[in-house]
Amino acid sequence: MNHGILAPIVLPLITAILLILLSGRRSLIRSISLLSATASLGICVWLLMQASDGQIRLYAPGNWQPPFGILLVLDRLSALMLLVTAVLAFFSIAYAVRGHDAPGDKLHAMVHFLLVGVNGAFLTGDLFNLFVFFEILLISSYGLLLHGRGVERARSGLHYVIVNLIGSALFLMGVSALYGITGSLNMADLGDKMAKLDPADAPLAATAGILLLVVFGLKAAMAPFYFWLPRAYAAASAPVAAMFAIMTKVGIYAIIRVYTQIFGENAETLANFAWWWLWPIALVTLVMGLLGALSARELRVQIAYLVIVSVGTLLAGIALNREAGLAASLYYLIHSTMICGAMFLLADLILRQRGELLDHIGEGPRLRQSALLGVLFFIAAVAVAGLPPFSGFIGKLLLLNAAGVQADAVVLWIIVLAGSLTTLIALSRSGSMIFWQTTDQVESAPAADKGALLAVIGLLGCVMVVTFAAGPILDYTFKAAQQLREPGVYLQAMQQFRVR
């Protein structure tokens, strides 16, 4: 029995508990936190290697035969998401341990609790259990966001909490409605039930499905549900904001999982009904995100809007409802998680050297390490704008390639390409103002901590790896997309699964 599947949930949980028990011993907390993140990284690589053979691995906590008990599922997609999370978490924590985890010493514990929720959401094959893990990640994110002082942080934090409480309520409604219609919670089984659903009841299931789409859309920050994101991310402390780069991806993941597994190819009348919604939503999200990025008055707000742009791009790829589109999105997901995380950390290093001006976009003091931070910012900006030679460019090419040259794809072409240009203009404005349009430097500005710099460089390094190893990575994402588009295989694997 492969208990390793459980490790991405249990390891951060035990770590978090340990860190709470060790309250007050800051340096020990930091070491353990980083150690655990490193171990998670190793475990997730190992899981990915297992999953890459294409076999779907199941684990039944409580040893109850599915669909009666809860099921954890390790397939290509979940293994990929776990690894992306582990990488991001490692660098965020590495940044935090360099003295960016104040006030108090609870930040690390909360980050590990967050990881429990995120990893659990990626692993579970049960819709209600997904709700539970969503709650874990949400409640930890509330704590992380409100952690520390500041009126703006409290205001945007409250906004975030309330919007997500609405999301949780809708989630609960959606899940109970699906249970009320089909009598099942297991995702594969739900997909099977959808295939056999009385067509007269299809609108009910579709309504439940749309409620779930709203919930996941809220998490993913798609239009018109993204309003909570810009301020919340901009107000969060740097390692938290970087860590949150994975949060929108949880929503994206849930959309992929639920609408390929439950409402996927086999779902008869309901097959693929979500894409019809998702396509215009994706395009609107892209446009709104771009406008936001252009309009931003602070660097962190700008990056937050770029997160929304990446969400739009990802959703567009998914909504194409093609293997190539899904594979492109999965690749872009890896890229955008890393680069957004890196940008939030970098913005923090920059604002620390600008005195009271912080990250306001405008003429300001010269940075103490203008050259070094400038180079990093330039690379990150090129990557995030989707310009060559970095992975964002490859991701966008893949997306356009998958969209093809049909009439309906023209809008996407225009938006994606104009989007790259808009991002480029926006970032060249903010970059040239922050790095070039400068007055004397702030006397007391501290030099960036070497470890924190390494964390940023590390994340950018990951972007390079994603760029240069695009071939093998795409090989994986294409196979993952293929696996997702064959929900029958998963169902079969579950039906053949026997508990002890």
Partner: protein
């Protein structure tokens, strides 16, 4: 592999000058030249083979799924461009060594130059169209940094941003064109594309592809109407201008025309688009160049004009015109780089580039003057210089066009017109600067003197090259040109002859008309200048910046209109969108009621429903008075728990009622710190909107639930739980068995949520200092006797009883209503009662527990219980149970689930009390005002 090195060496070398900068300028320059020099040596080795029309390839897969491969090819076309890039690059490196002053970083310039060089080499050597685009965009990015090198100057910043935006946009257009082209051909491999001319041009998307790709080429080569970034890019340091705007950046556009010539050219669309764009640019650039007073401005417009000439030649789609274009590319690079260097020297030695201020420099800097005269004459097309040769070819090609029928004469006519202006501005460059009187004494640097030898050297080399190419074309350039033409045109290269003398013919006449007319024009310049100045001139940079600013403001207006930070607004949007989306999906359901008949209405249900409705309405209508609203809300909660009882769910009822109590107490504690009244802020319109939304949401949820509940569902899951509760889970209380066993993993997650919530409250409130309100809203003092004796005594008596009840509830849980969760809540309530009645300090002294730790210990117990099953080879949280027979007590059932339930219990108690004690601590923070009131303070801290 060596082809790769040609590109890689400048890339690798880019870091060197940054490292060696501290060892002085010479070493810095030498280290910068290292990479390009090695690349040049490499490429020289290939030349003999290339002249034999061989081609060299390198293929390295990168993103096979996309067709983007790292494929390089070295052919004749790539060769002449690579030679220009490297030779002029090396000369620029030498030149920059003397040009850049000590206060600027030479190493940074060298690094950027080499990176740019790498990108340019990538363009000309790419064998994959997408790879070409990759390098193409890289040149835009690097040129942004080069133009913005003097970042303190606002001109440089704006010029850089503008160049990036225009060429970046062109690059994206090219990308779109390339992608579509690739989809048509089925490959991005250049060989495949170049051999698919018929397929491409017969495809319906050919016009789209062509226009997109041409936009890319035209933006890069500064063709009309995309030319305006180029003059503003002159804010770059002169070495960068000399490099970018003679031999490299702007040549990328015409390179692309040459590269894709076999695939795209020949159609009418190509002819009209390319020829007329080129022609317009040629005339427009030549005309404007004459009137620029800035030396570099003149050169910039002249560059625009010459690029127009080259573009136009490609448009002709004839073999000879193409050869002429290639030849002019080489010639333009040599004389223009030389002239930019001359302009830089003049700027360097006089401190200005304004031709209205500098005169008669020939006396002060004779060498520079001589070289500049040679190069400028080449630019004008004076015989014996290389510019003359290609210009003659151009003139003779314009005479061959017949596409416009009787109007074809406009080509030679306009070409001659542009030629006249070219002569005039070239002559102005010489005459204004080097002659035309004595230099003003008010020059920033006076007297000017000759530049250092090694600064002149690169310029002189290029000047000599103009002369050599002009006099001995067949010896020096023919083989190279032939190889390049072969790469573009394929096997059938027409016979042509590069010669200075072709006899008396029409092109020669045109040349002389241009020379004569140009001189004449120059001497009539005063009137012309006045005419030009009168014309309406806009500064494109200002216009562009204004447009961007307007765009930004528009974006700000849109964003602020949509997302104004109002929570109410975003909640309203969420609910509206959800309602609309759900309604659209729900609508096709014809009949809301399903086949299950509705249960008859009975009195109790009616009463309960009415109480709930009334309580809900009261909650809403009294929400301005927070305590009242809270009390009304608790009524809703209580009726819900009664409803659970009515529908035979005692577990749920117990849970609901204890949760209700804890929630209300915590809320009251929290509300204590807030104003008790919410001001009336919403307008009537807002209130109506909210009512509609809330009502709509309520009705929608009601209908949806009704529709689901009146339809049968598959009860397989429920049946399984009931059937297996005793045999598999060892308990008769199915609800509890579901919680701790069937779906124990959910409960495991939920207690984690609870513990985190407790910690979250701790994090939010930790260190927070709030002023404690001393009066209620009517101004009455809160009682000074916080712990009334009767309640204190009673609560202490209740405590052990409550604990016993909770133990009882816990133990019976597996078989009868109860369980760890409810028991935990009961214990928590009992403790809360002690806190309320006896004060925080009193409890803390007697119960020194850290609730934060306690709550996570509960999870730890659950985790270890779960992992315990690993020891027996079962998955996480697998339960087991056994029956134990004890004397006297009787049969006792022991289930591992009970240990798990203990974890639940501990977490619930810990987390609940953590929240409570944090709220309680808040009340302990000292109110600064209260210090004046010793009684109050002492009461509080008692």
């Amino acid at each position: 592999m060596e082809i790769l090195l040609i590109i890689a060496l400048p890339l690798l070398g880019a870091g060197l000058p940054l490292l060696t900068e501290r060892f002085g300028r010479n070493i810095c320059a030498i280290s910068a030249a290292l990479g390009p020099a090695l690349s040049l040596i490499l490429i020289l080795q290939y030349i003999p083979a290339l002249l034999q029309h061989q081609m060299f390839f390198l293929h390295q897969p990168w993103v096979p799924q996309l067709g983007l491969d790292f494929s390089l090819r070295l052919d004749g076309l790539g060769m002449i461009f690579a030679l220009m890039i490297l030779v002029i690059g090396l000369l620029v490196i030498l030149y920059a060594r003397y040009y850049i002053s000590n206060k600027d970083s030479l190493g940074r310039l060298y690094a950027l130059l080499q990176l740019f060089m790498m990108a340019m080499l990538g363009i000309v050597l790419a064998d994959n169209l997408l790879l070409l685009v990759v390098f193409w965009e890289l040149t835009s990015l690097m040129s942004f940094l080069l133009i913005g090198y003097w970042s303190h100057s606002t001109e440089a910043r704006k010029g850089a941003r503008m160049a990036l935006a225009i060429t970046g946009a062109g690059g994206l257009s090219l990308l779109a064109g390339a992608l579509i082209l690739g989809q048509i051909v089925g490959s991005y491999n250049l060989d495949m594309i170049l051999n698919s001319s018929a397929l491409i041009q017969s495809h319906g998307l050919y016009p789209v592809v062509l226009i997109l790709i041409l936009i890319g080429a035209f933006t890069k080569s500064a063709q009309f109407p995309f030319y305006f970034w180029l003059p503003h890019a002159m804010a770059a340091p002169t070495p960068a201008s000399a490099y970018l705007h003679s031999a490299t950046m702007v040549k990328a556009g015409v390179f692309l025309l040459a590269r894709l010539y076999p695939a795209l050219s020949g159609s009418d669309l190509w002819f009209y688009l390319v020829t007329f764009t080129g022609l317009t640019t040629l005339v427009f650039g030549a005309y404007n160049a004459l009137f620029k007073h800035d030396l570099k401005g003149l050169l910039a417009y002249s560059t625009i004009s010459h690029l127009g000439l080259i573009t136009m030649l490609f448009g002709f789609s004839s073999d000879l015109a193409t050869i002429a274009a290639l030849f002019h590319i080489i010639n333009h690079a040599t004389f223009k780089a030389s002239l930019f260097m001359a302009a830089g020297i003049i700027d360097h030695e006089t401190g200005t580039r304004d031709m209205r201020r500098i005169f008669g420099l020939a006396r002060f800097m004779p060498v520079t003057a001589t070289v500049a005269m040679v190069s400028a004459s080449a630019m004008a097309g004076v015989p014996l210089l290389n510019g003359f040769l290609s210009k003659e070819m151009f003139f003779s090609e314009t005479l061959k066009l017949d596409q416009l029928g009787n109007f074809s004469y406009i080509f030679p006519l306009l070409a001659t017109f542009a030629g006249i202006f070219a002569v005039a501005y070239s002559y102005r460059f010489i005459h204004d600067v080097f002659f035309n009187g004595e230099p003003n004494k008010d020059l920033p640097i006076y007297p000017p003197h000759e530049a250092p030898l090694y600064m002149i050297l690169p310029m002189a080399v290029l000047g000599l090259l103009c002369l050599a190419l002009g006099t001995m074309p067949n010896l020096l350039v023919s083989p190279l040109l032939h190889a390049a033409a072969y790469a573009v045109l394929g096997t059938d290269i027409p016979r042509y002859h590069l010669a200075i003398w072709h006899g008396f013919n029409l092109p020669l006449l045109m040349s002389f008309v241009a020379l004569g007319g140009g001189l004449l024009l120059y001497y009539q310049r005063k009137g012309l200048f006045a005419f030009y100045e009168r014309g309406y001139r806009v500064d494109q940079k200002v216009v562009f910046e204004k447009r961007i600013q307007r765009l930004v403001r528009l974006a700000q207006r849109c964003t602020d209109a949509v997302e104004n930070g109002s929570l109410q607004r975003s909640v309203a949007v969420i609910i509206t969108a959800t309602l609309v989306m759900a309604a659209i999906e729900f609508w096709p359901l014809g009949n809301i009621l399903g086949e299950i008949p509705l249960t008859p209405i009975d009195g109790i249900s009616v009463i309960m429903a009415s109480i709930m409705i009334v309580a809900a309405v009261v909650t809403v209508s009294s929400h301005h008075n927070r305590y009242a609203a809270l009390l009304a809300l608790s009524a809703v909660g209580l009726v819900v728990s009664l409803a659970f009882v009515r529908f035979s769910a005692p577990d749920l009822a117990l849970t609901q009622i204890s949760v209700e109590v804890v929630t209300i107490i915590l809320l009251m504690l929290a509300l204590f710190f807030l104003p008790q009244l919410t001001p009336y802020e919403s307008s009537w319109r807002r209130a109506i909107r909210d009512m509609v939304l809330a009502g709509g949401a309520g009705i929608a949820v009601g209908l949806f639930t009704l529709a689901i509940l009146t339809r049968p569902y598959d009860t397989g899951l429920a049946d399984f739980f009931i059937a297996n509760s005793v045999s598999g889970g060892g308990g008769t209380n199915v609800v509890n068995v579901i919680l701790v066993d069937f779906r124990g993993f959910d409960t495991f997650g939920e207690i984690t949520v609870l513990a985190i919530a407790g910690l979250g409250v701790f994090l939010v409130l930790q260190g927070l200092e709030l002023s404690v309100p001393r009066t209620d809203r009517h101004g009455r003092q809160w009682t000074r006797d916080p712990y009334p004796i009767i309640i204190t005594v009673l609560s202490r008596m209740f405590f052990p009883l409550a604990l016993m009840v909770s133990v009882f509830i816990f133990l019976r849980g597996h078989n009868q209503p109860g369980g760890g969760f409810i028991a935990g809540l009961i214990t928590a309530i009992a403790l809360i009662l002690q806190y309320i009645c006896s004060g925080t300090d009193w409890v803390r002294q007697r119960l020194p527990v850290d609730y934060g730790r306690m709550s996570v210990v509960g999870i730890l117990v659950a985790v270890f219980t779960g992992m315990g099953s690993w020891l027996f080879g079962y998955p996480f949280l697998t339960t087991t149970f056994t029956h134990l027979h004890l004397p006297l007590v009787g049969d006792i059932e022991l289930a591992s689930a009970m240990v798990f339930d203990i974890g639940v219990y501990v977490t619930v108690v810990g987390a609940t009390l953590l929240m409570l004690s944090q709220l309680g601590n808040l009340a302990q923070t000292i109110d600064p005002q209260a210090e004046t009131d010793p009684d109050f303070t002492s009461e509080e801290s008692r």
